[in-house]
């Protein structure tokens, strides 16, 4: 069975002016989104309020969570503590707008009173044991670590593609990669999806996914250049994209299926991961088809750059 016509010959490179224009627009818009709207950081990045609540009789964690959700504290982390009569609750203070004071600080008494009201509405035997501010779970070092990691990825992938392919492929791959990550982050900022550790992990995974996608197309480009007698770059690139189109879409669909299942029924634990990944897969797939190859063409890729080194190295050719 085949969904895609294997003889497809769509002129993707023909629309390169439009596709690149759209890509640049999306990137600029994403940078704007991240800069002006910002990311909606989650509890693990910001810290928040921590409360310990005692119950006279054993309590179900699910019920506590339900009572909190009713009062607008749906994102609260609820954990049992040493048995079934004490719970630890952590949440961001911004979940309770009424407790925000004019000078930007949080009225701790007000927050805990609001939360206790919700809890006592559900269970009259709920008693506040202690409340306090808690710091972020991740330190400031995450930012520097993240920067180093991103730099490592960019340099590592560039170096590998430079050696295995050629300079232009390395540049095109990394440029498209940056586009994918920025646009994914831009969309997250646009819809103000909560940005927590899981989403961060997912954004970083998008890098891995999308580079995978690009390399498959690049591999075919290299192969076709080497095989073809008359190599018109634009035609070779178009044929490469068309030849791998079926694979590009099938793989995206397969990976997409798993993430979609997690998004639809996975609940809050995997929701953020799945939606970020879905966005990333969509952006990555589109950029593999529409963005990476046009950049390659503009950089001036040609047959002679891709022939095995021994043949066009005059030094070696002269040897007997």
């Amino acid at each position: 069975m085949e969904i895609f016509n294997h003889d497809s010959n769509i002129n993707f490179l023909g629309m390169r002016k439009y596709s690149i224009a759209i890509a640049i627009f999306l990137m600029v818009a994403s940078i704007g989104m991240i800069a002006f709207k910002g990311l909606n950081y989650g509890l693990d990045f910001t810290g928040g309020v921590s409360m310990l609540v005692n119950y006279d009789k054993p309590v179900e964690i699910g019920d506590v969570r339900g009572a909190l959700a009713k009062g607008g504290f749906a994102d609260a982390v609820v954990q049992s503590l040493g048995g079934t009569r004490e719970v630890s609750i952590r949440f961001q203070a911004k979940d309770d707008p009424a407790a925000m004071q004019a000078n930007g600080t949080v009225n701790l008494d007000r927050v805990s009173a609001d939360v206790m009201k919700e809890l006592q509405a559900a269970r009259a035997d709920a008693k506040l044991k202690s409340r306090d501010f808690v710091s972020a779970e991740v330190g400031a070092e995450l930012k520097t670590d993240g920067t180093w990691a991103a730099l490592f990825v960019i340099l590592g992938i560039m170096a590998y593609l430079w050696i295995r392919f050629e300079r232009r492929f390395a540049i095109a791959a990394v440029a498209t990669e940056i586009h994918d990550v920025l646009v994914t982050l831009g969309i997250i900022a646009l819809v103000q999806r909560e940005f927590d550790m899981t989403v961060l992990a997912s954004v970083l995974a998008v890098i891995g996914y999308s580079i995978n996608d690009k390399v498959v197309v690049f591999d075919r480009i290299r192969e076709l250049f080497r095989l073809a007698r008359k190599a018109e770059p634009e035609e070779i690139l178009n044929r490469s994209i068309n030849n791998t189109l079926s694979r590009t879409i099938i793989t995206s669909l397969f990976t997409g299926i798993t993430m979609a299942a997690m998004w639809f029924i996975g609940g809050p634990a995997v929701h953020g991961f799945a939606i970020t990944m879905l966005i990333g897969i969509l952006v990555g797939t589109l950029s593999s088809i529409f963005v990476a190859s046009p950049i390659l063409l503009w950089l001036g890729v040609s047959k002679k750059d891709l022939m095995p080194v021994t043949r066009d190295n005059p030094e070696l050719a002269r040897r007997p």
């Binding site: 069975m1 085949e2 969904i3 294997h6 810290g47 921590s50 964690i61 699910g62 954990q79 049992s80 503590l81 040493g82 048995g83 079934t84 501010f133 710091s135 779970e137 330190g139 995450l142 670590d145 993240g146 991103a150 490592f152 990825v153 590592g156 992938i157 590998y160 791959a173 550790m197 899981t198 961060l200 992990a201 970083l204 995974a205 891995g208 996914y209 580079i211 390399v215 498959v216 591999d219 075919r220 192969e223 030849n243 791998t244 694979r247 099938i250 793989t251 397969f254 990976t255 299926i257 798993t258 299942a261 997690m262 639809f264 029924i265 996975g266 609940g267 809050p268 995997v270 991961f273």
Partner: protein, 627 residues
Amino acid sequence: MSDFPRWKYALVALVMLFGVLYALPNAFIPVPAVQVSANRGAPPVDQTLRQKVETALQQQHIAFGQVNVQGENLLATFANTDVQKSGSDAIKALLGDQYTVAFKLQSTVPAWLGAIGARSMPLGLDLQGGVHFLMQVDENDVIDKQEGSYADDIRSLLRDKKIHYESVVRNPVRGQGVTVVLRSADDRSKASDDIANEYNDLLVSNGPNTADRYVLNAVIKPDKLRDISRGAITQNLQTLRNRINVLGVSEPLIQQQGESHIVVDLAGVQDPAEAKKLIGTVATLEYRPGVGHPGDPDARAAEKSGNIPPDANLYHMRGTGEPVLVSKKVIVTGKELVDASSGIDQQSGTPKVDVTLNAAGARKMSDFTNANVGKPMAVVYVERVTETKMVDGKEVRTPKITESVINDANIASPFGKQFQTTGLGSPKEASDLALLLKGGAFAAPVDIIEEGVIGSSLGADNIDKGFKSVMLGLALVLLAAAFYYKLFGLVADIALFFNLVILVAVMSLIGVTLTMPGIAGIVLTLGMAIDANVLICERVREELRNGSTPHASIRAGYEKAWSTILDANVTHLIAALALTTMGTGAIKGFGVTLMIGILTSLFTSVTLTHAFTAAIHGHRKLKTLSV
């Protein structure tokens, strides 16, 4: 049977067997337990202690599974966390401060699996919860120390400037700084200027003067005081992180709560009693000039009469208990060292700790030893222990500092940066001390004021939903592959299943903590692993279309797809590798999962499917392929 050698079949079979065996322990669910281990000086854990614990639990009608002695520890298992809590309380009340009592999840993996090194993956805080500690940071101690050292500094400053003073003492009220008493108004104004110039963080003001007593108050500025306590907490958080890293717990939660509390949640701790000791122990070494030798007549006389020279402390030798006088002056403390490791001293055969000092400490040490060859130097072991007593049904904690001299010997020759300290009781004590010293000292003493088992942060319903979605997602991909690529798709499905098994096996073997993002990472890896099969299948189809025979198509399909698969996976691997360099646990664990997944999928998607494909198609004459 052309192109697939026998040894590769054997390899595939072996790897599959390995996967199943080492993934198996994850099917056994651990049970709640309480672990008891003996503190220094306490009688070791033995059968009599086991009897005692069992009887106590029976008397209080606390249902327990088993009480066993395992090596140096006692382990009692319980049916659920509620009983576990009451069990722990009962055992703590019974045994007192001589033993460390800690919560644990005891593995139920059969012994034969354990014998081949197979173990289950510890589950993270989000899936299973873990042990929870609330620690109180004693900021007063930092202020005490800071004010004490300012008093010393001012004394030596006045001496240097040749200003006569009557006394320089710390104000008995904490936070009120240092009180200097001078003999004239002139001296006072000179002292005031000098102190203010030398120490920017001190606020100097004149106090009331009576007759010939001119009082000067030097108080630490409020900003600075706040900085000091904030700095102490930050440094304590770092020290805790270092120490917990040593334990090898991945993805711990360490955060500041309020002004002076620290929360530590640990998942999947193998030896929680050890963990508790390591995070809660405040112990360090101090190197000080000795006054005489242990058991000297002077020291004995001081012990008897209580007349201790003003510039010395009277301590006792660890082990022999002999009295010894040690100067109050500290040459170097544990805070000034950069590395410590334990070992056995070649000459005496006793346990030792090798110490490496930082530059400042090394300079002080070499200055002192150069000037004092032949004179004694003492090594003081300072430990802060918290005694818990029940008063009126409430737990009352009193911190107590114990100091003992572990070593007092003459300096044979000058030394500086690196040296060794002997005199510790056992190799275990030496290695514990090395760990503590290496992890860094606490800037302010901490006490564990609350501990217990904390439940999963995601909640049972969310975990359930997450698992269901993961299963559904995988099932859908398996179906889709079988539907789209028929027989080749089914082979890919088998590969995907074994990919999951081998991935879980490797993760268990390495001891990666499993979290929800980790599970998402596994699913993502599997979703992407099928990419290699898609590449192969598409190539085989292409070859068939170009008119190749079925056997040739399979061979060419695998050959041509291989270079693409390799390039795609290596670049993906570089991206995953970067994630593992990130310090934060959750991201690191995710990166490790991706990395292992990429490697296992290279094997299963290519070698394993090739083996199956070759076995199915190998001996038959083929007209078409089911792809």
